[in-house]
């Protein structure tokens, strides 16, 4: 299973829909301080199912939606989509599973959406679903938000400064 693309629309500093395509191997992102690189990382973590807004540097879920700038009005919603290739033609149970041949996809797109009201929506290949279904896709395909598929300087420091007992939690995830 391979990451094909990421689409960010209204999330943090991305009021305009922006699409990143990925290749096998290494994709690099560069730019000046504050231009939005870590916001891209937050968008990926959030779509993978991150529920703790503090891990996304926010205090409230609402702060994930573009809140305006000198030249732009705030937006009312944020939407992020992650598309994966699906070589094994896995079909999420929530959409009927692999029995329904018309539902075996060559690509799987996970979409997460929030509104200022606080409402959340989730989609697999544009079909509405629950967060639970998305988590299931990631568990089945091994893509879940584990302790080390998204690594920032904070994770680097945390594993060194953690008490020995805290450190074992990270190990238990690997077990």
């Amino acid at each position: 299973m391979e990451l094909k693309s990421l689409k960010i629309f209204g999330f943090k500093s991305f009021p305009d829909e922006t699409k990143f395509e990925f290749e096998p191997g290494v994709t690099a992102i560069v730019g000046p301080n504050g231009c939005g690189k870590s916001n891209i990382v937050d968008a990926i973590r959030w779509t993978l199912g991150e529920q703790n807004v503090h891990s996304l540097r926010a205090g409230l879920t609402e702060q994930l939606i573009f809140n305006g700038s000198q030249t732009r009005q705030p937006l009312g919603m944020a939407e992020v989509s992650l598309t994966f290739s699906n070589p094994s033609h896995y079909a999420p149970p929530s959409l009927g599973g692999s029995d329904k041949v018309n539902l075996t996809f060559s690509e799987i797109t996970i979409t997460r959406k929030i509104f200022r009201s606080g409402e959340s929506e989730y989609f697999i290949n544009k079909a509405p679903c629950r967060l639970k279904d998305i988590t299931e896709v990631f568990m089945d395909t091994g893509l879940g938000v584990n302790a080390y598929s998204v690594i920032s300087q904070d994770q680097i420091d945390m594993i060194l400064n953690a008490k020995p007992e805290e450190r074992r939690y990270i190990f238990e995830e690997a077990a």
Binding site: E2, L3, K12, S13, F14, D16, T18, F20, E21, F22, E23, P24, G25, V26, T27, A28, I29, V30, G31, P32, G34, C35, G36, K37, S38, N39, I40, V41, I44, R45, G68, Q70, T71, R72, G142, L143, G144, N146, Y148, S149, V150, I151, S152, Q153, Q155, I156, D157, I159, L160, K163, P164, E165, E166, R167, R168, F171, E172, E173, A174, A175
Partner: protein, 165 residues
């Protein structure tokens, strides 16, 4: 559960030692169970010494040595339980040029089986990528993707087609 944890721990210890020695070009690295006789209750301590240096607490290590030690451990966990892709946000910031060289060589090897998305300001790190995105904020507060470069294996094709601007 106990034997599963024991097996995982031993696998991670072995990988940690190998990755550490690769990134530091020598030295010693191990993980020790501490605090309890029961393997399911014990905590995990990181015990390392860079090449030629004496074993001492990891708090005495330098900023760069600590970062590289932690990277070695996270890569070891990754090797024991890989995921199809991995996102790295500026984790090379504390490393000097020599350590970045070894870090990027190790990444290139991992990248044969794993997709990496790397954020970095460092030219050497950026140079190992297949594709390079530039992000800016010309309009204040509004992020914009402004360029795509095919850096890696596409470079020859790109050069022929002059798609690189």
């Amino acid at each position: 559960a106990r034997s599963l944890f024991r097996t995982t721990l031993d696998n991670v210890r072995k990988e940690f030692r190998d990755v550490f020695i690769n990134l530091f070009q020598g030295g010693e690295a191990d993980l020790k169970l501490v605090g309890s006789q029961d393997i399911l209750e014990a905590g995990i301590d990181i015990v390392v010494s860079p090449p030629g240096k004496k074993l001492s607490s990891i708090s005495l290590l330098s900023g760069g040595e600590r970062a590289l030690t932690s990277i070695a451990l996270l890569f070891a966990l990754f090797k024991v339980k890989p995921s199809p892709f991995c996102v790295l946000d500026e984790i090379d910031a504390p490393l000097d040029e020599n350590n970045i060289e070894r870090f990027t060589n190790f990444l290139k090897d991992l990248a044969k089986d794993t997709q990496f998305i790397i954020i970095s300001h460092n030219k050497k790190t950026l140079s190992i990528s297949e594709i390079l995105y530039g992000v800016t904020m010309e309009e204040p507060g509004v992020s914009k993707m402004i360029s795509v470069k095919f850096v890696g294996r596409h470079k020859d094709d790109a050069d022929k087609n002059k798609t690189e601007t």
